[in-house]
C-alpha cells in the first residue's frame, strides 16, 4: 500500500522567488499538499526574531527555520490534523497563519503559538539554486 513510483517521481519542485511580492504568502502544490513560501517584511522578521524561545511549545529560533530571513518556506499543512492554515490570519501576526479546522495559531515563522497543533509547520528540505530560485524536495 506504500507510495508508488509515479508518486515518488513527482517529489521535487522549483520555485522562482521573484514572483512573490514582499509581505505575501504564495501557495504551491508539492507532493499533493500546499507549500507556503512567504516573502517576509522587515517587521515580520523582527517580530519573529524577538519571540522568547521559552514561550514556544516547539522552541525553534527564527534563524533555524529560514535559510534567508526574507523567505519562509513551510509545508502548509497544520500539524494537528492536516488542514490548510489561512495566511495572514490568527492572533500572532503580522504574517501569521491560522488553521480554521481546530483553531491553531502560527506566527510569521510558522511556529505554533496556540491551539491543539503539537509542533511548528514543517520546513521541507530545500536548497537555493541561486539568489532567486529554490528547489524543494
Amino acid at each position: 500500500m506504500a507510495a508508488s513510483a509515479d508518486v515518488l517521481a513527482l517529489a521535487k519542485i522549483e520555485i522562482n522567488l521573484n514572483e512573490i511580492p514582499e509581505g505575501k504568502s504564495v501557495s504551491f502544490k508539492w507532493r499533493g499538499k500546499p507549500l507556503f513560501v512567504r516573502h517576509r517584511t522587515k517587521e515580520e522578521i523582527d517580530v519573529a526574531k524577538a519571540v522568547p524561545l521559552n514561550s514556544l511549545r516547539d522552541p525553534e529560533p527564527d534563524e533555524a527555520r529560514c535559510q534567508k530571513p526574507e523567505f519562509l518556506v513551510v509545508i502548509g499543512v497544520c500539524t494537528h490534523l492536516g488542514c490548510i492554515p489561512i495566511a495572514d490570519a490568527g492572533d500572532y501576526g503580522p504574517g501569521g497563519y491560522y488553521c480554521p479546522c481546530h483553531g491553531s495559531h502560527y506566527d510569521a515563522a510558522g511556529r505554533i503559538r496556540r491551539g491543539p497543533a503539537p509542533t511548528n509547520l514543517e520546513v521541507p528540505e530545500y536548497t537555493f539554486l541561486n539568489d532567486n530560485t529554490i528547489i524543494v524536495g
Binding site: 506504500a2 507510495a3 499533493g32 492536516g82 488542514c83 490548510i84 479546522c101 483553531g103 491543539p116 503539537p118
Partner: protein
C-alpha cells in the same frame, strides 16, 4: 411420524429457529424493533451501493463528475444515490437508538452479543467515513484528511502509517481507490459480524424491559414479532422515502457540492451529523494525542459496560437516579452534536470541554449510583 420440514431440514431449521419458533419475551417494546431495522438498513445500503458502484469511477479526476452523472443521467440514479446517502443517516439513527436501549435496559449483560455489537458499531462508522470520501467534494477530501491524520498522533510511527494509508504524501488518487475498495468490502464483513451477533443473541434469547432472564412468558417470534418488525420496517421506509423525495440533501453539507481542492480548507469543516458528538470531543482536548485518545475512548468505552455495571435489577427503570443520569447523558450527546457543528471559538470551546467531562463522568458515576441504590434497597 412425519416431522415438519422447517424443523428438520438442516438449512431451513436455522431460519425457523431464528425467525419462526424463536422463543421471544412477550414484554419487549417497540425499542426492540431497531435490531431488525438495522438489518433492513444494512440490506438497503448494500443493494443501493451495488447499483451505485456500477456507475461510480474511483478516480480523483472522475469521481465528482461520475456522482453528478449518476444523479443526472443514470436511470433512477438520483433516487438510488440519495437513498444511499440518507440511508446512512437512518442507519445511525437506528444504531444510536439500539445502543441507547441496550444501555437503558442493560442488554450489555449479554456480554458476547454486546462486544460484537460495539465492534459492528466501529465497523459501520469506518464504512460510513470511507463512503463519505467517495463523492470527492470538499468535505469528502477534508474529512478524509482530518480523520486519517488522527493516526499521525501515534508516537514515532504515526507519520509513516498515515502515508502508508494514503499511498502517497497526501490524500490523493491512491487513497480514493483504496477507500472505494474498502467501502465495498466492509459491509460484507459487517454482515458476517451481524450473523455472529445474532448467533450469540439466540443462545441467551433477547433481553426485555423487565430484565427477567428466565424462560417465562415467552411467545414464538412468528407471527407476533414478524408482523411487529414488518410494521417498523414500513414506518422507517416511509420516513426514509419521505426525506429522500422531499428534501434529499437536508442532512448533507453544501461544501460537498464543490469538487475537492487540496489547497483550500473550507472555513467550517465538520463531519456528517452522526459523527458530530465524537468530533466535538476530539476538538475539546487542546492536545493532539489526547484528543485522538478521547475520540476513540468515546466509543470504545462501551466495551467496559458489562464489567463495570454489576447490579441487582437489570433495567434502569428500577433505578430512579440512574434514570436521571441516562437522560442527562442523552442530552449531553445532543449538545455535543450541536457543539461539533459550531466554529472553534468561545464560548463553544468551553461548553464542549464541559460536556466532554460530563460524557465520560457518566460511565464512572453510573455504576456507583447503581451500587448505592442496591445497598439502600437490599
Amino acid at each position: 411420524m412425519k416431522m415438519n420440514l422447517r424443523k428438520t431440514h438442516p438449512l431451513i431449521k436455522i431460519f425457523n429457529n431464528s425467525l419462526i419458533d424463536l422463543p421471544t419475551p412477550s414484554s419487549i417494546s417497540s425499542l426492540w424493533n431497531f435490531g431488525s431495522l438495522l438489518g433492513l438498513c444494512l440490506t438497503l445500503q448494500i443493494l443501493t451501493g451495488i447499483f451505485l458502484a456500477m456507475h461510480y469511477c474511483p478516480n480523483i479526476e472522475l469521481a465528482f463528475n461520475s456522482v453528478a452523472h449518476i444523479c443526472r443521467n443514470v436511470n433512477y440514479g438520483w433516487l438510488i444515490r440519495t437513498l444511499h446517502a440518507n440511508g446512512a443517516s437512518f442507519f445511525f439513527i437506528c444504531l444510536y437508538i439500539h445502543i441507547g436501549r441496550g444501555l437503558y435496559y442493560s442488554s450489555y449483560n449479554l456480554k458476547e452479543t454486546w462486544m460484537i455489537g460495539v465492534t459492528i458499531f466501529f465497523l459501520v462508522m469506518a464504512t460510513a467515513f470511507l463512503g463519505y470520501v467517495l463523492p470527492w467534494g470538499q468535505m469528502s477530501f477534508w474529512g478524509a484528511t482530518v480523520i486519517t491524520n488522527l493516526v499521525s498522533a501515534i508516537p514515532y510511527l504515526g507519520t509513516s502509517i498515515v502515508q502508508w494509508i494514503w499511498g502517497g504524501f497526501a490524500v490523493d488518487n491512491a487513497t480514493l481507490t483504496r477507500f472505494f475498495a474498502f467501502h465495498f468490502l466492509l459491509p460484507f464483513i459487517i454482515t458476517a459480524f451481524v450473523i455472529i451477533h445474532l448467533l450469540f443473541l439466540h443462545q441467551t434469547g433477547s433481553n426485555n424491559p423487565l430484565g427477567t432472564m428466565k424462560n417465562i412468558d415467552k411467545i414464538p417470534f412468528h407471527p407476533y414479532f414478524t408482523y411487529k418488525d414488518i410494521l417498523g420496517m414500513l414506518i422507517m421506509l416511509f420516513l426514509l422515502t419521505f426525506l429522500t423525495l422531499y428534501s434529499p440533501y437536508f442532512l448533507g453539507d453544501p461544501d460537498n457540492f464543490t469538487p475537492a481542492n487540496p489547497l483550500v480548507t473550507p472555513a467550517h469543516i465538520k463531519p456528517e451529523w452522526y459523527f458530530l458528538f465524537a468530533y466535538a470531543i476530539l476538538r475539546s482536548i487542546p492536545n493532539k494525542l489526547g484528543g485522538v485518545i478521547a475520540l476513540v475512548l468515546s466509543i470504545a468505552i462501551l466495551y467496559i459496560m458489562p464489567f463495570t455495571n454489576k447490579k441487582k435489577f437489570n433495567s434502569t427503570q428500577f433505578y430512579p437516579i440512574n434514570k436521571l443520569l441516562f437522560w442527562s447523558m442523552f442530552t449531553t450527546i445532543l449538545l455535543l452534536t450541536w457543539i461539533g457543528a459550531r466554529p472553534v471559538e468561545d464560548p463553544y470551546i468551553f461548553i464542549g470541554q464541559l460536556l466532554t467531562v460530563i460524557y465520560f463522568m457518566y460511565y464512572i458515576i453510573n455504576p456507583m449510583i447503581h451500587k448505592m441504590w442496591d445497598n439502600l434497597i437490599f
